[in-house]
Amino acid sequence: MRSYIRVIKRASLRHIGYLAFAMFLGVYPLIFRDPYFLYVMINVLLYAFLGEAWNVIGGYAGQCALGHAAFFGLGAYISSLLFIKLGVSPWPGMLIGALVSGGVSVAIGWPCFRLRGAYFALATIAFAEMVRVLFNHWEFVGGAVGLRLPVLGDSLSAFQFRSYLPYYCIISIFFVLSFLLVWKLSKSKTGFYWKAIKSDPDAAESLGIDTTKYKLISMFISSFLVSMGGTFYSQLVLYVDPTSVLVRDLSVRVALVAIVGGMGTIEGPVLGSFMMILLSSLIRARFGDVPGLHLVIFAIILVVMSIYKPQGMMAILEDIKSWIERRRSLGAA
């Protein structure tokens, strides 16, 4: 009985945390009216969203996908191209881009998932580099110069606004939806299959799990979401070029957020994104004249974290929690 109460207590504590975070999201723009603060939070949420998406393939299904910049870029390019060349609103454009990205990811994943270990990671890198080179030299999509979206002022149908507030609302919704989706998935049968595949693919296969199918589902969801993030980004900056949306750095950053926060946990990417993006904004605001400093610090965090705490910040929080509990039980005794 006691243990049941503890379980309920713990679960509700977690839910209270989620509610508090949702309230924080709602209140934030009312407190911080400065565009800069809004912009920083948009970035935090965008990366939390992307990290959540990477988590589906990297954290839950345990596949080291390192080419997510390709899907981010496809999302950004497809919606922008549809808008510029055909006048299609970026909203359906986003959906088309996400479906194309998902389709491409399945097409590339289907042969790649036969590959074990590092080979899968390498294949995703090679694929992303190919997409980058293709877009870099393809004149129809603007080549290395990229595409500039026409500025139309405030327009919901054109997915562009003068102030940051609507962007903030949109990315908040994206993020909350992705969070709920990943939460639901992690509790579903599919989520358990992913965990089984992650911990031992051979055992999972022998138990009758169609590992390729579930890896493909994970890849599809992951790239679908990342591609939506790409469209959002292109609408935020109204400019797309290969060096901003298709580079290897981006693939690493997307994964980094989830890894530092805690792979395979729903809260991990959020934690990681807050930590990394706030830190980088702080460093850039303070030492803006030193190029690459924030990335140097990211890299150090990544290396140290991967060696000493491979489960990320979430594991550190767990450690702190158990330490407090130990102290408390000692005090009670």
Partner: protein
């Protein structure tokens, strides 16, 4: 010889010469991969660091890049041992994602440190000892590339002989085959790892001295070599020095020929080969050799 044939021959030769340097860099990557079972994502960044080292030695003391070879090889061998002792040793048993991201972190660290310290400027060594080229019947061959090729071949052969003939070399191969069995036979596996990583980085040290002769030095200079090296190691089969040598020449040739047709094509072709090999024959050429 008609000028067209001479031109094409020149392209092919130049590709093969570059392929030699690729083979050298890949040999190091392949050795690390084969022995430690860790894909070093920072291999290209070490190459970039070596190029900067050579550049700064030249800049500050006037020593020619080719004469820095003993310095870079020795320093990078030591650096490799330090990196192995300080970082890689801790992740040998970690999950693949962690291993990859530790080395990715090192890549990010070095590239951005270079950017921080030396800005994104392109730097070149002017008036190196060997420069220019010669023409034989209209076929132009660049001297720095020829010399680099020579050194690369020598170094690759030396590593190959070292692995085949010396006691440590045989121990390295034993560890690559079966870590545990080698350990049971009394091989000091940790030391073998250090030597392997040291040797792996010594190859990029040497490659840095060679490339600084005719390549611009900038913070991302190593990245493209890294992708090429990954392609070559995959093509040649990881852990196989002879495999990466032949694959290096193939990739060098493919790059030169496709760049001759259309400069934009060369990366596409190389990455395409990479992807196709991964999908069709991930074990590479190793078994064929």
């Amino acid at each position: 010889m008609p000028p067209d044939t001479a031109l094409i021959l020149g392209v092919i030769l130049s590709g093969l010469l570059m392929g030699g340097v690729y083979a050298l860099v890949s040999g190091g990557l392949s050795l690390i991969w084969g022995v430690l079972k860790v894909v070093n994502m920072a291999h290209g960044s070490f190459l970039m660091l070596s190029m900067y080292l050579v550049y700064w030695i030249w800049r500050l003391t006037g020593l020619d890049p080719l004469l820095t070879i003993p310095i870079t090889v020795a320093l990078f061998f030591l650096l490799g041992i330090c990196v192995q002792k300080g970082i890689i040793r801790h992740i040998l048993e970690a999950s693949l994602v962690n291993q990859i991201f530790v080395t990715f972190g090192m890549w990010m660290l070095m590239n951005n440190l270079a950017l921080m310290l030396w800005k994104a400027d392109f730097r070149t060594v002017s008036n190196p000892l060997v420069s220019g080229g010669l023409g034989i019947m209209g076929v132009r061959i660049s001297f720095p590339k020829l010399v680099s090729f020579g050194f690369s071949i020598l170094a690759t052969c030396a590593i190959w002989l070292f692995l085949q003939r010396t006691k440590i070399g045989i121990a390295i191969r034993a560890v690559a085959q079966d870590r545990k069995a080698a350990w049971l036979m009394g091989i000091d596996v940790d030391r073998i790892y250090e030597v392997s990583f040291g040797l792996g980085l010594a190859t990029v040290g040497l490659a840095g001295s060679l490339l600084a002769n005719f390549f611009s030095v900038y913070p991302y200079a190593g990245d493209i070599f890294h992708i090429f090296a990954l392609t070559i190691v995959t093509l040649g089969g990881f852990g196989s020095i002879s495999g990466s040598f032949i694959a290096g020449l193939i990739i060098g040739l493919a790059e030169a020929v496709s760049a001759f047709i259309n400069p934009a094509l060369k990366y596409f072709v190389v990455f395409g080969i990479f992807l196709i090999i991964l999908l069709l024959k991930p074990e590479g050429l190793r078994e064929a050799l």
